[in-house]
Subunit: 262 residues, 2 copies
């Protein structure tokens, strides 16, 4: 087990975020004393991953923890909280769209540490570059949470619940929806026996462009030119992939509407 | 004017692609002897950019060119071709969804050089990394075009018209539609007074992920979990931005459908 001098921490949940947050906290000197997950396989895998004792029994959570970090889906968090029986512990969750006062009934010290990032177990990420939004139930806990967050990230902001929900929603467009467009491209190429690799330089350049200019200035392509011929040809070509045909039509129309109204 | 020993080349069009292709050709030793654009301002700007004589008069095109490269929109290309009066010259266009035989009536040597990339005048791009699809009207011209393309790019493939149209369509999803999702995120943050910058690490990570795994494996977020609560909250939050609300609902449903059918 890795030792450290920082707060004694329990991580609840063994999903993608836990998988990255655990090592980032250990690197920053936190003593992760236990991890919990509902299923044995994920608890054990995560425990081994960060070399920490694991449990699948919520009654076995160690009582001497200073900090409990919940890395759960919204529904799992709400289902689990009533079963947790720890006193005087600082509880934080990591969800974009769950209020901090979900903890109100269970502890007097609580907060939120929401990383604006997409995590995948198999990809390393430098947590220091991850923007982290924090919120706590009072100024003292906010300071405490800020100092925790700043130990793992160089990009920490205090963001209230309403604004955190906005960040979360914008992130869904920028990440999940963007990835779905990659998927359409992947499936279309795959459908015709081509390799997705040929698009990778274009994908990276499209992302890099919006580091330097607004997405509005960066927009190119037939929809922004309202080139009806091409739009029509592509819609026909997608006849046997109706789901992507719908997306093509819908998103093209939205791009055109935005250009027209300017 | 920059001299070179390669083919004497005229570039027709002074848009985003010309702006990048011109310098890439010059760097590879091509002698660009003239540029043409319909408007004086764009012809002059581009001519100055690559230090080459410009014209806005299609009758003034130099007759000793070996190669004429059309960097025009599809409609502009079709409108301009009947006016061009050059003989025995290799004509190529750069469009994703225009057949090569658009040149048939005007020359016996022709082809297509289609770069699978998004170009913006103000951003430098290393053309060597740009995937280039080529096609020509016979084997001899294909070899000629291949050697031209390989002088500027390390990633050249011979792709027929049907397949080039597929590449183009996939590129629209991966680039134009992706950028429209960035734009939604930008507008939503802007609407509430937040800076788009906070999403940049997430945008880069989302793009980098699909260099290593398929977009299907990379997908995260509430739509893929079918978290109806969050979807509903976000739809309500977007009530005063109906265009983005429509996109949110439509794309979320498409993500969910894909996850459900697997």
């Amino acid at each position: 087990m890795k030792k450290g001098k920082g707060p004694k921490t329990i991580i609840i949940g063994a999903g993608k975020l836990a998988w990255h947050l655990g090592p980032a906290l250990q690197k920053a000197g936190f003593r992760i004393i236990q991890v919990y997950s509902r299923t044995l396989s994920s608890a054990a895998a995560f425990g081994l991953h960060i070399d920490v004792p694991w449990t699948t029994d919520v009654n076995m959570l160690k009582e001497d923890a200073d900090l409990v970090i919940f890395c759960l889906t919204d529904r799992a968090l709400e289902a689990l909280l009533p079963q947790i029986n720890l006193k005087d512990v600082f509880m934080i969750h990591t969800a974009g769209s769950v209020p901090s006062n979900v903890f109100e009934k269970w502890t007097s010290d609580f907060g939120v540490l929401y990383p604006l990032m997409t995590f995948t177990k198999t990809r390393a990420i430098d947590f220091r570059t991850v923007p982290v939004c924090i919120e706590a139930n009072n100024k003292e806990n906010e300071d405490r949470l800020k100092s925790i967050a700043e130990k793992i990230s160089d990009n920490v902001s205090a963001v209230n619940f309403e604004n955190r929900k906005i960040m979360h929603m914008a992130a869904i467009f920028a990440c999940n929806f963007t990835n779905h467009m990659y998927r359409a491209a992947y499936d279309i190429l795959h459908h015709y026996g081509f390799d997705f690799g040929i698009l990778k330089p274009l994908i990276m350049e499209t992302a890099r462009k919006v580091l330097e200019m607004s997405p509005h200035e960066a927009q190119t392509g037939p929809a922004s030119r309202h080139d009806k011929n091409i739009l029509c040809v592509h819609q026909l070509m997608l006849q046997d992939q109706p789901e992507w045909q719908k997306i093509y039509t819908f998103v093209s129309e939205s791009i055109y509407q935005h250009f027209q109204s300017e």
